[in-house]
């Protein structure tokens, strides 16, 4: 008995058991846990053992180990155990990729060096020497810490890690293989083969490899253990694979990056912080570290166990590997084909295996249930960008007619009204509300400069833009008190400082310091971008200070200087102050001091209609059910920028979201069988707005009608973004997790990524809340199961002269539309099949 126990290869046995568990978690994580690894819970009642009894107590994240969360939760409230289980795949994929790459380089180099190729030996030594001076950990940290690598999607991140860690680590493996090869080459049987006249290549493939492979197998396992060790170290230095997002202040501790996908290393990234309060939160470090330990031990022991096994003369494992080498040899396979009658069985087995491997890698993706028709989408785009609609501005005639078009189209497609109505109206003007920035239209304005008795006249949209009009003007419009001859601003420029030029109004008013803009990008982001921050969060270079003007002087004027300015259309909004942006010759002149300025505007036009969010509904099979009925909401903006009076401008990109959404409505309405879940299409008005958001249709929806949907129906939200032009080669996708238990965003996203790969879509996914400055996604996603936006929320070339229908990227629109259709029809979490 004792003798038998002594014969057991304990490292192989223990290592094998550990690896079995690890690989089980790799392939079948859903059998080990039924929790979603991405669901974040902020606070809840947990059951914990106190003095041997199970008690319920209130806890906020991170939750300590309790009955529901066996290993506790991380700082985002995500179950640690399920993240470790699901993280097995991501972590091991990195380790396997690194080792595979290292072996692909190290094997040929090591074999060549071991067989006497000096160059190979020199290269190996050089790399070894280089990474002797610089610890591999440090160089890996420096390279992988570059922001570009930190933001890569998981698959690309794995590639990046594989390449970097291969470069720093292949030479050590190559040196081992070189050493082993040298030893084998000194064996008597090799000398015999050389004497028999075999070439080095033949000796290498026929004699060397069968003896080397067992050692390589052993090295491979131990190398995987070493790579996992390195990954654990890098993780402590906050370097780990996969995308990350910023933890915002409203969650918990703020301002650090947290991993989105489950991965072992990411759970150790906060170790230096957590260790300061280790006694309170030790589970956050101990469990991930233990997981690494078990996996590393498993691979190390298996490698060592195999090494022990290979040293045995009568090792069955070695025989098996050598036979396997023979079995998988292509040359033998071809020879057997030639003698098919004799070897039909072996050929049959090998051919079936080959077919299975090929099918695994090249199996065609599931076909789409319904196709997105780009031509039909472009038909809608043609209508929405018709010049007569003048840019589809909220509250104006063009905006109204574009809304009518959308309603009629939805009706033609057979979509039903939502709760009795195809639209929901909201005020397009509220001058008394400082949070409301109405759209106004100024058709005529002139700026007269006078210096040394010489007057020069400049015109709006030719020499300057008028992005803002004072709120008081808006109030006059609302109350019908607009002066017949319009508004006049007068003042004199005064040199103040090198970067500042002041303009005074009436003599008794303090001059307003004007601040020179730093660059075009800040200005364009400041004014023209839908959803970008404004006001309090704008950079100080672009601050528009208000002054405490004496009572009775309601109007103020500001001038913004930019280094460059694109020829674009802009909307005019009501604002605290009136502002102009001069360009070209006017700008040069204004930068001089001591000029008298007179700005005159004809009475602006105010909106004639209220804003309108348009809704169409496609009931699903679940709509007749009792109980909660899941809803999918597909939202898209449809308004744009005023184009009247600007020849040569007919921007198309701002209409692409609505055009895409209309085509989605058609495609889904023509399905033979309705989907399980019901779908509501919303077209938001007023999205081309500035901070604050109150005039936006999505804001109005969220605070009024939306509350009812969100309370009554569990829903997921998909936002249709803008299509890029032909310069854009990658689709932006924003994914927002669900909040609260039972929201399976991890699996939905997993399926989404698979489908994106099946369709060969080039994309960039974001999870960062900073990207949620598109207000509709931000507001509607709050109570959703999870939310996604496909497409851009803004492009810098929108509303330029070059923004035309011909420049719209058809492939981008096709991909955008198709991925949304496939998500709704094929993704099990959307089509009702469930995971």
């Amino acid at each position: 008995m004792v003798h038998r126990l002594k014969r057991i290869n304990y490292p192989l046995l223990v290592g094998g058991v550990l690896l079995l568990f690890v690989m089980f978690a790799y392939f079948f994580p859903h059998l080990l846990t039924d929790m979603d690894p991405n669901v974040e819970e902020a606070a809840k009642y947990i059951e914990v053992r106190r003095g041997g009894e199970l008690v319920e107590e209130y806890s906020t994240r991170p939750f300590p180990p309790n009955e529901e969360n066996r290993f506790g939760s991380d700082e985002a409230g995500r179950d640690l155990y399920s993240r470790l289980i699901y993280g097995t795949r991501n972590t091991l994929r990195v380790a396997f990729s690194v080792v595979l790459f290292r072996m692909l380089i190290a094997m040929p180099m090591g074999i060549m060096a071991g067989m006497g190729v000096k160059t190979a030996s020199i290269v190996i030594n050089t790399f070894n020497t280089l990474f002797t001076a610089i610890p591999k950990l440090l160089i890996s940290f420096v390279i992988l810490n570059v922001a570009y690598f930190r933001n890569l999607e998981m698959q690309h991140s794995i590639w990046a890690f594989a390449i970097v860690l291969t470069v720093v680590g292949w030479s050590k493996v190559a040196a081992l293989i070189e050493d082993q090869t040298s030893r084998i080459m000194q064996e008597d049987f090799i000398e015999g083969e050389i004497a028999a006249g075999k070439s080095y290549r033949q000796i290498g493939s026929q004699n060397l490899m069968p003896h080397l492979i067992p050692h390589v197998v052993s090295y491979t396992f131990m190398e995987i253990g070493m790579v996992l060790f390195l990954l654990a170290q890098l993780a402590v230095l906050t370097v780990f694979v996969g995308p990350r997002r910023i933890a915002l202040a409203e969650s918990f501790s703020a301002g650090f990056e947290m991993a989105f996908e489950p991965e072992w290393g990411s759970m150790l990234a906060r170790a230096p912080i957590i260790i300061r309060s280790f006694h309170d939160r030790m589970w956050l470090i101990i469990y991930p570290a233990l997981t690494f330990f078990l996996a590393i031990t498993g691979f190390n022991l298996t490698g060592e166990g195999l090494r022990i096994e290979f040293q045995k003369r009568s090792s069955r494992v070695v025989s098996f590997i050598r036979q396997g080498f023979f079995f998988f040899s292509p040359r033998i396979y071809i020879e057997q084909w030639k003698n098919l009658k004799t070897y039909w069985r072996a050929v049959g087995v090998k051919t079936l295996g080959l077919v299975a491997v090929l099918l695994f890698f090249f199996f065609p993706p599931e076909p789409s249930m319904v196709q997105f028709n780009t031509e039909k989408a472009f038909e809608h785009l043609e209508v929405l960008t018709d010049e007569s609609l003048e840019g589809r501005v909220i509250g104006f005639e063009g905006g109204r007619r574009s809304g009518d078009y959308i309603i009629h189209t939805l009706q033609d497609y057979g979509l039903e009204p939502w709760q009795g109505n195809y639209y929901h109206e909201f005020p397009s003007m509220d001058p008394g509300n400082t949070g409301y920035f109405e759209r106004l239209v100024v058709e005529k304005a002139t700026l007269v400069l006078e210096k040394n008795g010489i007057k020069e006249t400049f015109h709006v949209n030719e020499d300057f833009f008028l992005p803002h009009l004072a709120k008081s003007i808006s109030l006059d419009l609302y109350e019908g008190n607009v002066p017949e001859d319009g508004y006049t601003f007068e003042g004199r420029t005064i040199t103040y400082e090198e970067d500042h030029i002041e303009i005074g109004l009436e003599p008794h008013i303090d001059p307003i310091p004007l601040i020179k803009a730093q660059g075009r990008q800040e200005v364009s982001r400041y004014f023209y971008v839908q959803g970008q921050s404004f006001g309090g969060s704008s950079p100080t270079e672009l601050g528009f200070p208000t002054i405490n003007a004496p009572a009775g002087v309601p109007y103020r004027l500001g001038i913004i200087y930019t280094d460059e300015f694109d020829d674009r259309i802009i909307n005019t909004y009501s604002h605290t102050n009136t502002h102009i942006i001069p360009f070209g010759e006017l700008r040069e002149k204004l930068e001089n001091a001591d000029i008298h300025i007179t700005l005159h505007l004809d009475p602006p036009k105010a909106p004639d209609y209220p804003g309108r969010n348009i809704m169409g509904f496609l009931p699903g099979r679940n709509w007749e059910n009792e109980g909660p009925r899941d809803l999918v909401i597909i939202g898209a903006p449809y308004d744009g920028f005023y184009t009247g009076g600007r020849e040569g401008f007919n921007p198309a990109l701002s209409a692409t979201a609505a055009a895409t959404s209309l085509e989605l409505a058609r495609a889904l309405s023509e399905l033979d069988e309705p989907l399980e879940k019901s779908i509501m299409f919303i077209f938001f008005d007023g999205e081309q707005s500035e901070f604050p958001f109150r005039l936006r249709g999505s804001f109005q929806y969220n605070r009024s009608r939306g509350r009812f949907e969100q309370a009554d129906f569990p829903y997921t939200y998909i936002e249709v973004g803008y299509t890029g032009n032909n310069q854009v080669n990658r689709m932006d996708i924003n994914f927002v997790n669900g909040k609260g238990p039972g929201r399976e965003s991890y699996f939905a996203r997993d399926e989404l990524l698979k489908r994106l790969n099946d369709l060969n879509v080039d994309y960039r996914m974001f999870y960062d809340n900073r990207r949620m400055t598109n207000y509709s996604l931000y507001s509607v996603s709050i109570n959703s199961e999870f939310s996604m936006r496909f497409g851009g929320m803004y492009f810098p070339f929108m509303n330029l002269r070059e923004d035309t229908i011909d420049e719209v990227n058809e492939d981008y629109m096709k991909d955008l539309g198709q991925i949304i259709l496939d998500t709704v029809t094929l993704n099990p979490l959307f089509n009702g099949e469930g995971m």
């Binding site: 001076a133 950990l137 030790m282 570290a289 854009v728 080669n729």
Partner: protein
């Protein structure tokens, strides 16, 4: 003969010096790349955050600063980089030296116990030496911290020393926990080396002879094996040292022990320094670390290649 030896030695030293200079140049180039150099993604396209010309200029200024010595005078939080480096170096050296000694004191006896004196005694004991090799640094530190926190909060002292705080580097006592943490892995290596050396030697003829003459295992160990064990450990020093240097960075980071490793990570990832300060400080520290590490490594390699064989022969 002696002349030929001297010439060969001279050539080897010259070659190593060239390699060292090349490595330092590469490090200087790499650390001269601005820390805010980035490829960022915006509106469907990738953009460089700065032009390659700006990067080249920064690297050039970096070289100038280093060669003129100005880089050492850059001030961070009231201290010059040179001063910071010296104090950090001393702190790290204490941990490395203490860790090495402790690893030897633990590893060798452990290896003696683990050794399978008769080759057919099974593989169970191998587990004991392999499992410690698989413990990631963060787990080691976590467990040491766990013990340290318990001792600290319960005011437990040892021989009048303590209670020792579990973080920081205020006093010499603060080196104790980092030393313990950094010694675990090298101790496992040394244990493994010791065990395998004993196993190899146990079947050698002169050992069999000694056993046959009635020498106890202790006598054999002291008189015949210890020398070989020390030789093998010294021969494996480059590997052990590589492990220790990597662990040093992690352990200093987790213990907030402000040695070289801690500062390197701090300079690279801190937002409280300007990119110029961070770049200069990082360059000085990594150059210093690389130089020290390389010299140490070459020293051990030289000892392994030339000195130890000669001692063995004699």
């Amino acid at each position: 003969m002696k002349t030929e030896f001297a010439v060969n030695l001279g050539k080897k030293i010259f070659y190593q010096a060239i390699v060292l200079v090349m490595i330092l140049v590469i490090i200087l180039i790499a650390s001269g790349i601005p820390t805010d150099f980035n490829v960022y993604y915006e509106y469907g396209q990738y953009h460089w955050s700065m032009s390659l010309e700006e990067v080249r200029l920064n690297i050039f200024q970096h070289f100038q600063g280093f060669l003129s010595g100005e880089i050492f005078d850059v001030v961070i939080a009231g201290e010059s980089i040179g001063t910071l480096f010296r104090s950090a170096f001393v702190l790290s050296l204490k941990v490395l030296f203490g860790g090495t000694v402790l690893a030897f004191l633990i590893g060798v006896p452990k290896g003696i116990l683990d050794s399978r004196k008769r080759g057919k005694s099974g593989t169970f004991k191998l587990l004991q030496s392999y499992i410690p090799l698989s413990i990631p640094d963060v787990l080691t530190v976590g467990l040491v911290q766990f013990g340290a926190i318990y001792l600290y909060y319960n005011d437990i002292t040892f021989f009048g020393l303590g209670p020792i705080h579990f973080l920081g580097d205020e006093s010499w006592l603060s080196t104790i926990y980092p030393i313990i943490s950094i010694s675990i892995l090298p101790a496992a290596y040394m244990s493994r080396i010791t065990a395998s050396t004993i196993e190899d030697l146990y079947t050698k003829q002169f050992i069999i002879t000694a056993r046959g003459k009635g020498c106890s295992f202790g006598q054999i160990l002291r008189q015949h094996m210890m020398k070989n064990i020390v030789f093998e450990i010294l021969s494996s020093s480059p590997t052990i040292m590589a492990v220790m240097f990597s662990s040093l960075i992690i352990i200093e980071r987790l213990f907030y022990y402000q040695g070289l490793g801690y500062h390197l990570i701090f300079f690279f990832s801190s937002y409280s320094l300007t990119p110029e300060q961070a770049s200069a400080a990082f360059a000085v520290f990594i150059m210093g670390l690389a130089f020290f590490y390389y010299m140490l490594f070459m020293g051990f390699k030289g000892m392994k290649t030339w000195i130890l064989p000669k001692i063995k022969e004699s």
